[in-house]
């Protein structure tokens, strides 16, 4: 298609925390907030992957809306009045994080990602110093059947970055999710040991985008698992090729 024939997105104006901002109509609230230096916490969101609104940390209040809206999948509208730091939101964000910690066995001190974990960092950023909910202590497996990588479900927050990067960027769709609610698990192929997966290309993208220590390279001791930021580069290169 001739690029000049493409519809040029129009500009819309809205308010974030009382401040007037303008943006392209195809942008999400999260994009616009970040462009304007407004902090909205996220865990499942990652630049270069389709946003899915899974973690709910990015909920914002929009005047006139009957419920809170996830900023990462809410497209902007003209004259929207958005609030990102209301008492309700601050309270809910903490609750969401606490529930994530209570739902699995997150033991930061012995985790491969200690010091490089987005969940741990977010807890500190939002001032979380203890969990008010009873821990579930589920009995979850560690799958170390892959030659180079392992998955520890105790640390998974079900953000589905691994599922999306494997499907959208690598094109293999090895990862998926089974089950419902707290019983959900990320799985490889037809819920078989990762090492036996025929679709996995062992590219390691899932490991690199995991926000916690769930997916990690074998041989890493506590605090040794660091990640590389490769997605923005890949996305840029692919956009230029189209």
């Amino acid at each position: 298609m001739n690029p000049s024939a493409q519809k040029v997105p129009s500009v819309k104006t809205l308010q974030i925390n009382g401040k007037d901002v303008s943006a392209r109509e195809d942008q999400t609230l999260l994009d616009v907030a970040r462009e304007n230096g407004v902090f909205i916490p996220t865990l499942c969101n990652l630049d270069g992957l389709t946003p899915i609104g899974a973690c709910r940390l990015c909920l914002v209040e929009v005047k006139g809306a009957r419920r809170l809206l996830p900023a990462c999948i809410t497209q902007i509208q003209d004259n929207m009045e958005v609030f990102t730091e209301t008492e309700t939101l601050v309270k809910y964000r903490k609750m969401i994080l606490e529930l994530l910690f209570a739902e699995r066995n997150h033991v930061c001190s012995v985790c491969v990602s200690n010091g490089h974990c987005e969940l741990q960092a977010m807890a500190q950023k939002l001032g979380l110093d203890h969990i008010r909910y009873p821990y579930l202590y589920p009995k979850l497996a560690v799958d170390a059947s892959h030659d180079r990588f392992a998955v520890d479900h105790n640390r998974c927050i079900l953000c589905q970055r691994c599922v999306r990067v494997c499907d959208e960027i690598e094109g293999a769709h090895t990862w998926d999710v089974q089950g419902r609610g707290t019983a959900s698990l990320v799985i490889t192929d037809l819920n078989q040991p990762w090492g036996t997966s025929e679709s996995c290309t062992s590219c390691g993208k899932c490991v690199q985008v995991c926000p916690t220590g769930t997916l990690f390279e074998k041989g890493r001791a506590s605090g040794e698992m660091t990640k590389r930021e490769f997605l923005p580069y890949l996305t840029l290169m692919r956009e230029e090729r189209v």
């Binding site: 910690f101 066995n105 997150h106 033991v107 930061c108 001190s109 012995v110 985790c111 200690n114 010091g115 974990c117 741990q120 960092a121 807890a123 500190q124 001032g127 979380l128 110093d129 203890h130 969990i131 008010r132 009873p134 821990y135 202590y137 589920p138 009995k139 979850l140």
Partner: protein
């Protein structure tokens, strides 16, 4: 001004938080002028006294003895501080929780024992079903996460409390620190 009555207690933890407390080094001397250490694994008192101003509590509540101790500490202490990840979120001690007490006993005293394999019924306090954070058992006033919290972090918390202020711990330390 009378000295603040300070205690420390060690439940199910590795003593790393106490070691980190000692790592405040020469500042201990300055602290010694302001506090009276009335009970601690570091001093000789055998009974937890009445009217304690601040107690730094290390470790999770894992057995019946821990629970008895923390109930007594709470009843006799004005400001109870959960010191370190074991106290705050039960940390490493909680890693046994998904397996159940019976399996833990079997693993420790039967499978891994070379001589005299038996599950102890006396002297060693029985394990609770789960190793738990202190605040699930009694009210906690200040939370200091970290494994261990840094010496500077602990000194900050103690200094703030002695000055009559509530410390903002999230700015100084985090889970797993």
């Amino acid at each position: 001004m009378s000295k603040a009555r300070v205690a420390t207690i060690w439940l199910d933890g590795c003593s790393g938080c106490h070691m980190s407390f000692l790592d405040i080094d020469e500042r201990l001397i300055e602290l010694a002028d302001k506090i009276e250490l009335v009970y601690s694994p570091l001093v000789d008192a055998k009974e937890y006294p009445e009217n304690v101003d601040v107690c730094l509590c290390e470790g999770a509540v894992s057995n019946e003895d821990d629970l008895k101790k923390i109930l007594k500490v709470r009843a006799r202490t004005k400001i109870l501080v959960s010191l370190g990840d074991c106290a705050v979120n039960s940390n490493v001690p909680s890693m046994r929780n998904p397996f159940g007490v019976e399996d833990v006993y079997k693993r420790a005293y039967i499978e891994n024992a070379q001589l005299n394999q038996q599950i102890p019924k006396q002297v060693i306090p029985p394990l609770l079903k789960n190793a738990r954070p202190i605040h699930e058992c009694v009210k906690v006033d200040v939370f200091v996460p970290g494994c261990p919290p840094s010496a500077d972090g602990i000194y900050y918390v103690v200094s703030e409390l002695l000055a009559g202020r509530m410390p903002d711990t999230a700015s100084k330390t985090r889970f797993g620190a």
